[in-house]
């Protein structure tokens, strides 16, 4: 099974030759039973100046990754940044690993571990490719600190913080559905539509890719079955050169089975998983857009409140209540300030999102291109290998007397 190569990440847009490359490897099960967890080695190679060393490793557990994502989200989402999403929690997969012993690491759980490891690696590299996120102190601590990080207990699904987050998320979803923003900026109107259609396209594409993976795995299995059947036939066959040829056929088919299996893995890790990442990234993009909508809401709300306060002041002036006028005047100035600030906030986040989306689009196309190139290279290699297998078989077949 070929492991996906470590991705090299160029710092975007700055034209310098700084690079940072993060690898996630050596998944280990620490502990036993329900309190056990998976730990991964995070290796960083970089020449970025603000890191202390050029090449080092730390151990991190899965909940650390989730904790990192949550912190980055809290700090940067409202500045209009697209935060790469972390791999999802999976109750079934994790429990299987927790309860399973080291000895019977069956293919199902090792597949799960490999899938998760690859996802974590892609997550780390996407996050580090973002110049602002890379400089974030929490991120730096995550990859640099040579000790165990404080347990991000709030990432557990059953904690009180988790329940609170769930409530918040429900509220946000309702908000997203009910509030229709009065969009004045054409750019955002078009972009939102583009994002929606991109989402739909990627989902369809990913679905067909997953189908391809499954069918290619099927092909690998049926090729293996054929190899076995031919081996049995070869042992029963009495004609000696036919028997020999059948035996060779069995071995050749066995080799093609391995090739098909490897190709199925390439289909999966290179194509399907990457496309799935982008579907999640688009969800993050939608989150950022929604942040902007929220700031707009705040701005509108403060404008409405300002109007009310002005009204109240005018009423107080008419009624000649001097004391109330004073208070109303204070409130009016307070809300005038709030309106100004929220408008600034809104314009700031709009500008930030535009810049962010530019980078996002460039990165998306580059990722897509890299993905296709790697996939086609893998496909070519496996086709060439298959050709070689059958070329070596032909003389055997011709030798049947």
């Amino acid at each position: 099974m070929s492991s996906p190569k470590l991705q090299l990440n160029q710092v975007e847009g700055e034209g310098s030759d700084e690079y940072i490359q993060i690898g996630v490897s050596d998944p280990q099960k620490i502990g036993d039973g329900m309190s056990s967890y998976m730990a991964y080695k995070v290796t960083t190679k970089t020449n970025v100046s603000y890191f202390r060393k050029k090449h080092w490793s730390v151990m991190r557990r899965f909940s650390d990754f989730l904790g990192l994502h949550r912190k980055l989200n809290e700090k940067h989402l409202h500045s209009g940044r697209v935060i790469p999403p972390a791999p999802e929690k999976s109750a079934i997969g994790t429990t299987k690993i927790k309860l399973g012993s080291d000895k019977n690491a069956d293919s199902g759980s090792s597949d799960f571990i490999e899938r998760r490891r690859a996802a974590l690696e892609r997550y780390m590299n996407r996050t580090s490719a973002h110049s602002t996120l890379r400089a974030d102190p929490d991120f730096r601590e995550f990859i640099e600190l040579d000790a165990e990080l404080p347990r991000a207990t709030a990432t557990s699904a059953l904690s009180s913080a988790g329940v609170l987050r769930l409530f918040n998320r429900v509220g946000e979803t309702v908000n997203k559905m009910t509030f229709k923003m009065d969009e004045s900026d054409q750019w955002f109107e078009e972009k939102t539509q583009q994002i929606e259609s991109l989402d739909a396209q990627l989902r369809k594409l990913q679905g067909s890719m997953e189908g391809l993976v499954n069918y290619r795995r099927d092909l690998a299995l049926s090729t293996a079955a054929f190899a076995k059947a031919t081996a049995v036939l070869s042992s029963v066959e009495e004609h000696s050169s036919l028997s020999r040829a059948l035996h060779q056929l069995s071995e050749s088919t066995e080799r093609t089975h391995t090739i098909h299996h490897a190709q199925a893995d390439a289909d999966f890790y290179v194509l399907s998983e990457n496309t799935k990442d982008y579907i999640h990234l688009i969800a993050a993009v939608k989150d950022v857009f929604h942040e902007r909508v929220k700031t707009f809401q705040t701005w509108q709300h403060s404008q409405i409140t300002l109007a009310k306060k002005r009204e109240a002041k005018a009423k107080a002036e008419l009624a000649g209540r001097m004391d109330k006028v004073q208070q109303a005047q204070e409130e009016v100035s307070e809300w005038e300030g709030k309106v100004e600030r929220s408008q600034e906030e809104f314009e700031r986040i709009s500008k930030a999102i535009k810049k962010e989306m530019e980078q996002f689009d460039v990165m998306r196309v580059k990722d897509f291109r890299d993905m296709i190139i790697k996939y086609l290279e893998d496909l070519m290699t496996s086709q060439q290998q298959i050709i070689k297998v059958w070329e070596t078989f032909i003389p055997e077949a011709k030798a049947i007397s």
Binding site: L205, M209, T223, F226, L233, V236, R364, V365
Partner: protein, 323 residues
Amino acid sequence: MLDEGSVSGGSASSGASSPEPEEPFIPKFKVKFSDNVSKDGESVRFTLQVSQNGLTTNMLEREFEDFEYLDHCVSTSQSSRGLIIPPIPQRSAIDPFSVEVQSKRLMGVESKILIPDEFHKDCQQLQKYLELLLSHPVLGKNEKLHEFLTQKNPPPRTKVKKGLMSKLSDSLDARKSSYRDSEEFFQKERDWVTKYQPGIAYTSEALTKITCAQLRISHQLEEMVTALKISTCPNDLVHNRQYNNINTIFLDCMDKLKVPETEDKGQQEDMALGSTLGLWSRYTHAESAMLLERTCLMVDYQACNRALDKAKPNRKEAVSTLV
């Protein structure tokens, strides 16, 4: 694998040894299937071109049921006792319902792929069947076969249905297959067939599964191509143009990839290895049927002999007292 020469040699060499080598048997007719296959609702008509000694050619139309009737006549005729009858190819599904059932069986329950009619495969298999019949030294002289190949209208067919009684007797016969044979040659042959027949049947099935898997992959690639086609974006920005370019290239690639998976490769693999495996799987089955027939006769013969031996002393006494 026994080739045609030794089939006729084998049936002649049991017991009797002919001093002079047998003359190679020349088939009386030559048959070629034309591509003209017409499908009319539920019946499929094949067009055959029959030539005799390279001279006269007859264009005949036959349906699959005619072939089935021919098979029935050949296998039940007296001259065919003790021969390995070439197996008739399996009937492929024609009407929509059975096509769906067969497609689901081969492709998996959730797939929506329907396997289309593959008449060239049927033609090739039926042609092979007729060639095997014609080149058999005994079966090639069969009257019904000649009628089949000369008359313009197909010989009238009677309904061939296996009744309950014949099914019962078949199952009783099958139990006799565990009796050891009196002759070493036949016992060895029977042992070999018992091992070989399931082996080759399994291999044939495994190959069908591979072909189906490849067919599924190509359909999936088609879906992916459709998904890629709708993924193009407007050509306004530089990176969008790049994206469209990459998309188009990838799309072309996948498109070209799926074509060989279905048509050429699938066909050739299927027709070459697949049909050979299928044929010899059925052939060995026919051989085991022939050997089973012999075994049943042998069992009956032995039973009769035992009965005779038991009866002999009684009768001898009775006869001696009479005389």
